[in-house]
Symmetry: none
Subunit: 223 residues, 2 copies
């Protein structure tokens, strides 16, 4: 496991390096935000421990920039401030966890382990299922390489189904998640939109499981 520590306080940086190396991690240290961002971009790290207050580029900006460039490595933020809004900001800008200085080394380790256990693959930029590809950021869908245009609702429906690819998703679940919970829409609307989707992405890719819901056929499903 290779970690990147971005921390400008010499003593803390050295302590972290020693401690984490003792735990068996490979540790690299960057001393300002700019340098940290460049090293993280390069890849090869399993997680990043990132101070908020950094010379040249703040920790917030580092995370935001990384996420914008679609780098999803787990980030644990450290901050000397302990106002609650800082924590909220840190998490909202894309960090995975947040620790307030002074922190306990035991807690740091536990959180780091939780982060690593969770892994990186949580947020793929493009969702795929068989020959169906859906890009949430660009709102674009291709089927067997051909671009397909969907309306907003159709897109939201397919997005939810593809995130649950292979699983059966009930109509009420779809109503809850794809339609606005406040409005109560008739379940028949789901059927109608399933119909629209089928015409656009191909009938065989979207199965009905009678009495239970719908299932987007998983890749390589034997039939």
């Amino acid at each position: 496991m290779r970690l990147l520590v971005v921390e400008d306080e010499e003593r803390l940086a050295a302590a972290l390096r020693r401690g984490l190396q003792a735990e068996g991690f490979a540790v690299d240290v960057a001393h300002d935000g700019q340098q940290g961002l460049e090293m993280a971009r390069h890849g090869g790290y399993d997680a990043m421990i990132l101070d908020v207050m950094l010379p040249r580029l703040s920790g917030y900006r580092v995370v935001r920039q990384l996420r914008a460039e679609r780098h999803w490595l787990p980030v644990l933020m450290l901050s000397a401030k302990d106002g609650e809004y800082d924590q909220a900001d840190g998490l909202d800008c894309g960090a995975d966890d947040y620790l307030t200085k002074p922190f306990s080394y035991v807690v740091l380790l536990a959180r780091l382990r939780a982060l690593l256990r969770r892994g990186t693959q949580a947020r793929p930029a493009v969702l795929t299922c068989g020959d169906v590809e859906l890009d949430p950021a660009e709102k674009r869908v291709t089927v067997a390489g051909e671009e397909v245009t969907l309306t907003t609702r159709e897109f939201a429906l397919l997005e939810y189904l593809i995130r649950r690819a292979g699983q059966v998703v009930s109509k009420t679940e779809l109503l809850d998640h794809v339609w606005d919970a406040a409005l109560d829409t008739a379940p028949n609307a789901v059927e109608v939109y399933i119909g629209y989707l089928r015409r656009k992405i191909g009938r065989e890719r979207l199965e009905t499981v009678r009495g239970s819901g719908y299932r987007l056929a998983a890749a390589g499903t034997g039939h």
Copy 2:
């Protein structure tokens, strides 16, 4: 987004429900560990907020049990203790994040959002018995590698039997659990459905124990 809040203090539970609903979440509340576990098992939640100190079943045990059953929904733990080792325990037993009471509502929201953004990489359990496999989430059954399509009732029946694989299950027990308790269905319906199942999964896999009930042949039946 649908949340499950497991919290026994009435006032806190009510406050969480109100606050989260105001944020646009659909919120269900359970008041003890056992109930929470059952609701979480049922699925349909995008995340769970879980107190550690609960009647009947502690938060630790709830998470551990869920993970053992391969439910991966994101869990945010709440605790009144604030010893650092408790935090480490909570994370190590499978929770995704940890908050100490009293906590700030803003922080809770931010952490929750971080958790939801991360999403759940679900992989639910598959029940097997010999060469029969049943996947509750995908509503899919294979026998000796061949996919078999079952109706809802047939599926529910097989699911109950496979959870009791090797044990004799009486007709009244099946009526209670597989059929709606409210309706009183004739015991003969069970016989009829056992018949349907046999045709689909193979006669020899489902024994009749005259006068007692039915038994799904345990693994290693072949001799």
